[in-house]
Symmetry: C2
Subunit: 480 residues, 2 copies
Amino acid sequence: MVQTQLERARAGVVTDAMARVAEREQVDPEFVRQQVADGQAVIPANHAHDALDPMIIGREFATKVNANIGASPDTSDREGELAKLHTAVHFGADTVMDLSTGGGDLDAIRQANVDHSPVPVGTVPIYEARKHVDGVADLTHELLLDVVEKQAQQGVDYMTIHAGILMEHLPLTDGRKTGIVSRGGSIMAQWMEERGMQNPLYAEFEAICEVFREHDVTFSLGDSLRPGCLADACDEAQYAELDTLGELTRTAWNHGAQVMVEGPGHVPMDRVRENVQRQQDVCDGAPFYVLGPLVTDVAPGYDHITSAIGAAIAAEAGAAMLCYVTPKEHLGLPDREDVRDGLAAYRIAAHAADVGNGRPGARGWDDAVSEARYAFDWEAQFDLALDPERAQAYHDQTLPGDNYKEARFCSMCGAEFCSMRIDQDARDGDGEMESIDDETDLEEVPAAEVNRPPVGTHEGAEVPDLPDVLKGVDGVTGDD
Amino acid sequence: MVQTQLERARAGVVTDAMARVAEREQVDPEFVRQQVADGQAVIPANHAHDALDPMIIGREFATKVNANIGASPDTSDREGELAKLHTAVHFGADTVMDLSTGGGDLDAIRQANVDHSPVPVGTVPIYEARKHVDGVADLTHELLLDVVEKQAQQGVDYMTIHAGILMEHLPLTDGRKTGIVSRGGSIMAQWMEERGMQNPLYAEFEAICEVFREHDVTFSLGDSLRPGCLADACDEAQYAELDTLGELTRTAWNHGAQVMVEGPGHVPMDRVRENVQRQQDVCDGAPFYVLGPLVTDVAPGYDHITSAIGAAIAAEAGAAMLCYVTPKEHLGLPDREDVRDGLAAYRIAAHAADVGNGRPGARGWDDAVSEARYAFDWEAQFDLALDPERAQAYHDQTLPGDNYKEARFCSMCGAEFCSMRIDQDARDGDGEMESIDDETDLEEVPAAEVNRPPVGTHEGAEVPDLPDVLKGVDGVTGDD
């Protein structure tokens, strides 16, 4: 019987997936094996996911970003869903979650996503299960297990399992400002309230472990009781569930299944680090996969930014993967540009943390962009940018001509006030500032001769005139 | 002779401005006076700025945000500039800097800004001075002083003075990847290189202090040698200039002038706090006014986000004011929507830090938004939002009808999967989850009866159907 990455790592085997991951992360394969064997990292790679290029999630590796895709209630067309997958991967998602809640042929869509995705595909099986019954209370143990097993057979690489929310936890949420904000968590809570029984995903957890072990599906233990606002952060309910997640982590490991643990949500800046450290402690270092967290509740329409701040801090503190949030969070269904904005914000957060943590190789990217910038090599700056299309589009909005791709300025400051142009003009041929001798004879350096007007830096006929488009722009100048 | 806020605070006087500031910040007026007297906070308030509503900048007060406005080289129309001022104030700028480098009647524009602005107006006098001469080397001590004095007479509340960059510092920049990236700093460097003399703003610093004392102009000591990329952060050049800024801070205080100090720029996440602590130490607690910092160089087109991450961390560490960065940074002239995006990102950073620091009253805003959200009071959520227009526009993009303003869901998850709707349905009339008795007789709670289908939550004829517009949306679903 084929074993999970975790089982093979424990047996001392460096799998093909581990070797590939080591290559991508530029680390030693044996280090990958050890991290997986110790449960400190996961390689979500269902045996049936043939299109996968393996990747790894763990605090010792580059921080990863997840994007959510999936059919909405009234769109469930296969080509449309594959287009979303393409968008997410194009803009840099390391994993995608198919969160379909649509009423169409979700099996076919899920299979198409797995068949075409080079990145791990995650799901939340409770969503499909919910679609099979009239009411939440009609969900049964058997149905839940059947859905999990079918999706595992389809090749899903990781699944959010809301097994940590227990009936004992529910009264702990009574004083909250925003109750239970995890969709799966609220469904399990309603089920428990109406059926008067323990969480079936908890009750059947060992059976799920066996399914996961057979197909090598990685657990993403859902944080059903994550805070939905700053006021509810770090409360008794959240931390009680976290303790259960720690217990479930160890149970899954005992079954040879890989595990990561989901985290909040909405957390004030000063308590983000505490959340990461507590999860790492309670869950014995299993990778932490956080949603944001948002560091303020006041900015609907900009929650990709409120949460990117928290995500960067969480990643610096040791979170291994960041689930993106789009500008439409709390307000509506995101479109393609929202996905792009969300992914950009989160790739920034992930990379900033990797740089802050001194991850080998991370800073080289920044240095390459900075060198292109100082060289006024606009094409290289665009090519190297996190989002080349947007960088060029923004530049070209005011200076579209090809000649401006070699200009020693942009429209932000204009040629006369471009600091990098002035800085370079002030240096000698070796790029050095002269050590100044205050006794210099000023008569020998007549100002009028040594100073070159800005257009002079572009030499004669090649000088790009300030374009008409810039003349009417309702703009503001840059920093000083 | 009218004295500065600093001189009157030292004399034990609570000025009208201090009283107004205390009211706005909800603190004791005597505390304001003490902070100003000790140089730990500034109230930029030129005696001639009649339209001003006084505000305070200091680490013990709410974090402030500055927006840059100003005429670009080919737009210098007075009404256009006033429109920019209006935009900046409308979207929440606490101060504005008029960074005009245009060729028009900048005196008239500057006067109009001061006459109409309820927030402090800052300038960078070297820009105007530069416009008066053919070449950088033609700048003279007299011209610089004349420009400073004229702008002080016009009512400008604070000025960036690039006095900290000395000729001894210039060779320290030789190994940098991006040289000198402050516009004013690069001009002073070129002047020193070409004239072979010490920085005239440094040489004339005491004369400038006297002008500032007379009109109560606040110093914003420019950080000419701030890093322009991660590679140049925290280098010898930056910190050598900072030492000079500390010396200048004490000189200005000796003259009775108010002082804040400008800071970087581009700094890796793990060194942002160090920058704030070092400035606070070297400059004896004078307020720190930072530009970002950007925590990565790789994302042109998204630098409002890269820098909001750094700005939030800087503010949490003690920075008093944040100079915004727009998405067009490094690429071009920002337009109105860029100003809006930049201000939103920075107000988020400022508020997140205030919450993180437990600033009295800060968290109340978050709680109010969260309560409106849980109550599905969409109108209140929009009204309370940092950018009400955008929050509503994003919501209404998929659900524009008035009836959706009372709906217990939005298009992000839809009615069936809205966690807050499910959570509330699972609670009793007191909003509580029942403590579950596992012995409940399931025959008495038939699932089909207790479960209400999602549309049932909207009661009969008032039920908002899922709108057509949602049916074709190329969207993705939210988090789990």
